[in-house]
């Protein structure tokens, strides 16, 4: 347990379960895309400019430059921040009607200051379905619930940002998590950090919501 976890426990939030960020997969895709475009461009040049249509070369060039720019942009963000972490009060799944406070943590790498940083968060529920259409597999996604979340505490110690986020899991407005072969319900916590003269930084965490009503509601409370 590191120093920050001790500090967090002192503030009364038990840190039992860490959820890893799922948004950084886009970086790998972008880097792969950039590499593929560059290789295609180099192959075209090696084969001979005269053999490849000029328009194709221009498209390859533009794609390579665009993808590399985005990759550079993402790499700067990556280099600037450690992997985001989310701490849940328990490793148990969340329940319908639950109210939990989770802690978001991220540390700046080699930055002298993180002044002017603002954090916003939202919870989003998506239905995802896939179906076969001819030889292709189609996927359709629909957001069925989305709500901004309250940032209860936003603090920085040295170069570590910590924010406590209150999450209300609605009782009626969205179904619990579901993971079937072709039909899924996906719960996600999205944290956005913005700072002056720095690119926005989005982190995404999967939440597991069980088909169970929160115990506080079962024992006599009322649902939202």
């Amino acid at each position: 347990m590191d120093q920050h976890e001790h500090e967090s426990e002192e503030r009364g939030l038990p840190l039992e379960h860490v959820v890893s960020d799922t948004s950084d997969r886009s970086v790998a895709l972008i880097v792969l895309g950039a590499a593929a475009a560059l290789i295609a461009l180099l192959v075209a040049i090696a084969v001979g400019v005269s053999d490849a249509p000029l328009v194709l070369l221009i498209i390859w060039g533009v794609a390579a430059v665009a993808a590399l720019s985005v990759a550079w942009f993402k790499a700067r963000v990556w280099a600037g921040w450690s992997n985001p972490q989310l701490f849940l009060p328990s490793s148990d799944p969340l329940h319908l009607g639950d109210h939990v406070v989770v802690r978001f943590r991220r540390t700046a790498r080699g930055r002298s200051g993180i002044n002017g940083l603002a954090i916003t968060a939202l919870v989003r529920v998506e239905e995802r379905v896939s179906y076969q259409q001819g030889k292709n597999r189609q996927t359709v996604t629909e957001v069925v619930y989305e709500a901004p979340l309250e940032i209860l505490m936003n603090d920085s110690v040295n170069r570590t940002i910590e924010a406590d986020i209150g999450i209300d899991i609605p009782l009626y407005e969205a179904p619990p998590s579901m993971d079937l072969d072709n039909n899924d319900v996906h719960w996600e916590l999205i944290v956005n950090m913005t700072a002056p003269n720095a690119p926005d930084d989005l982190s995404s965490f999967t939440l597991d919501v069980d088909p169970q009503v929160a115990s506080r509601l079962q024992s006599g409370g009322s649902g939202r």
Partner: protein, 148 residues
Amino acid sequence: MSDVNLSLKLDTDVAECGDVVAGMVRWGRLESAPRGVRIELRYWTEGRGDSDGGVVAEVELDGAVQGAGRFELLVPEAGPMSFEGKLIRVMWAIELIIDKRLRPDPDISHPITVLPRGGLAMWARQAATPPTVSDQTPPDQTGPDQTR
């Protein structure tokens, strides 16, 4: 098949995830003893995506030209619970199947609604009707009973 008499009566047609669904079945007027009598609890999805689902619990009763039996089937704790979303609809049903030799199997089914754990007590306390999927048959006052 029209002279086959099947009856499926549930104690309740609303259950929670992790609960037992219980009821009574009767069958009669079969020409010969069936290979078996099966009661299945199953769910399936409808909507935009390819359908998922399957039988999650089943019980077998002895085959006879006519008979009756009580059954209990366990709804999985993980559900999925019944719901109707924008792209997905999750449906549940109890099905009585008479397994006849070399003949179409007569069957009868009754939809049920599966609520989240703790959902029944909550809805009962609020004196509200549990949410049902829209095209499911509402229970009559004496409980669900279908006879073919």
